[in-house]
């Protein structure tokens, strides 16, 4: 409850007209950002706990730990995520907050261009890798080794439900996956 209450209070503060319109002073804007960040971090504990309860089926393999980490990457808006960039194997859980089934193209920042994506049934999905745009890669204060974005279609995400995808970098993969620009036209 204290975690949720901090988020509730923060969302209350965000109703102020200066927060809605962006007419707050710069220092206040920074404080708003800090409060939102802290609140989100606090609530990630609740989300992790909930997702672990939902995902702990009775047939669960004993090889997988009882409680998994479920990390949010708040810098995805600048194509940066420490976990997906530095790990050769990771799982991505997608929660659909809408009240209807959706299809969504997912973009994940990665350091290489050779990845395989498995859906919840173990089926390999078509993927594509494109380079992170030059202008984004060159942002001075962006600390990221992601050079590419891995794209796949998360189909039929259930209404107010979730699906988990397994992403791994295979030991051997063909070089022709490397994305290159089409020849320039003149």
């Amino acid at each position: 409850d204290p975690h949720l209450n901090f988020m509730r209070e923060t969302m209350g503060i965000m109703q102020h007209h200066d927060a809605v319109t962006g007419t707050e002073k710069q220092k206040v804007a920074l404080d708003y950002a800090k409060r939102l960040s802290v609140a989100l971090r606090a609530c990630s504990t609740n989300m992790r706990s909930t997702l672990n309860q939902l995902s702990s089926g009775k047939n669960r393999s004993t090889a997988v730990p009882a409680a998994l980490e479920f990390k949010t990457c708040t810098l995805l808006n600048i194509s940066s995520c420490a976990l997906s960039e530095t790990n050769t194997r990771f799982a991505l859980t997608l929660y659909n907050p809408l009240a209807h089934e959706t299809d969504e193209y997912i973009r994940i920042p990665v350091a290489d261009y050779k990845y395989a994506v498995l859906d919840p049934t173990g089926k390999s999905l078509p993927t594509q890798v494109v380079p992170v745009p030059n202008a984004v890669a060159k942002i001075k204060y962006r600390r990221s080794i992601a050079q590419y974005e891995l794209i796949f279609l998360a189909a039929k995400l259930p209404a107010v439900g979730y699906r988990t995808y397994y992403i791994e970098k295979p030991d051997i993969a063909p070089d022709d996956l490397k994305p290159g620009p089409a020849p320039k036209k003149t």
Partner: protein, 288 residues
């Protein structure tokens, strides 16, 4: 052909030899459509006079109706694959964009990146993206009301009094929370935003949205500082997305462009939440 094309069976975009968008093909028709980045210079006023205030956090007020081009030539790179086709555009050192069309989508995505806005010339700047089509909108366009109903707007007009605008640009700007659109009897163009922005249609067939602003003077409405984001030294960089829908204005009920816009509006503002778990120690079989 020297033209660059990306697209799928639903929508196709053509880029001219200078790298600018020039044409859209969707819904059984091909129409002229350009898109570019421009900026207004912010007004510097005398804040002691109510009618002569500077452009600032509360008010958008260009120095003149004049608009400046961010670039007249765009460097582009094209990436085509099985899931998405992308054109990476560089307009100048502080404006770039990726235009993409996914395999199964019926719209185009414009992911813009603007900033840090240069101020070495001591001029505040308010950057816009402008889509220009040949749709005969006759001064009418639509903006949403907090993501709910669409409100009809008429250029240089107010519903309940005779207006004579002294400031033609800002006087025609309206809040856009999620969508701005225009149409004529044959075609419709709508742009969905990922955040609240200001927008307008200053010429028939045109839609413009303000994406970023950096101003050097307080507008004296209360905040007491310029919208300059000096805490970050060089100024902020903003990144965001616009979704472009183009098609026939009148279609069969149930499959209308407006219905598709509404669905994407929900998906844009409430996308799937992403949670990452480290699986280094577990194979895909163990994970399954």
């Amino acid at each position: 052909s020297s033209l660059t094309r990306i697209g799928n069976g639903n929508i196709k975009l053509t880029f001219d030899t200078n790298g600018f968008l020039s044409e859209v093909t969707a819904d059984g028709m091909t129409r002229q459509l350009s898109q570019e980045f421009l900026y207004y210079e912010g007004a510097i006023g005398n804040n002691a006079e109510f009618l002569n205030r500077s452009s600032g956090a509360y008010i958008f007020r260009p120095k003149a109706d004049k608009v400046f081009f961010a670039s007249d030539r765009v460097a582009i790179e094209v990436y085509k694959g099985p899931l998405v086709q992308e054109v990476h555009q560089k307009f100048n050192d502080w404006v770039s964009q990726v235009v993409r069309i996914y395999k199964q989508s019926n719209h185009a995505e414009f992911e813009w990146l603007v900033g840090p806005i240069p101020i070495e010339d001591h001029m505040g700047k308010e950057v816009i993206t402008r889509f220009k089509s040949d749709i005969e909108s006759d001064g009418i366009f639509y903006t949403d009301s907090n993501g709910r109903e669409m409100l009809k707007r008429q250029r240089n007009h107010r519903e309940t009094w005779n207006v004579k605008l002294q400031e033609r640009v800002s006087g025609n700007y309206y809040p856009v929370t999620t969508k701005i659109a225009l149409e004529d009897t044959t075609a419709r163009m709508a742009i969905l935003t990922d955040r609240a922005q200001g927008g307008s249609s200053l010429q028939d067939g045109e839609l413009e949205l303000m994406v970023h602003r950096r101003l050097l003077h307080d507008d004296a409405f209360g905040v007491g500082e310029a919208l300059n984001e000096t805490e970050f030294g060089e100024g902020l960089i903003a990144r965001g997305k616009h979704h472009l829908f183009f098609g026939q204005s009148d279609r069969r009920p149930g499959v209308s462009l407006k219905a598709m816009e509404r669905l994407l509006q929900l998906q844009t503002l409430l996308p799937a939440w992403k949670f990452f778990s480290n699986m280094t120690a577990y194979s895909s079989d163990q994970w399954l």
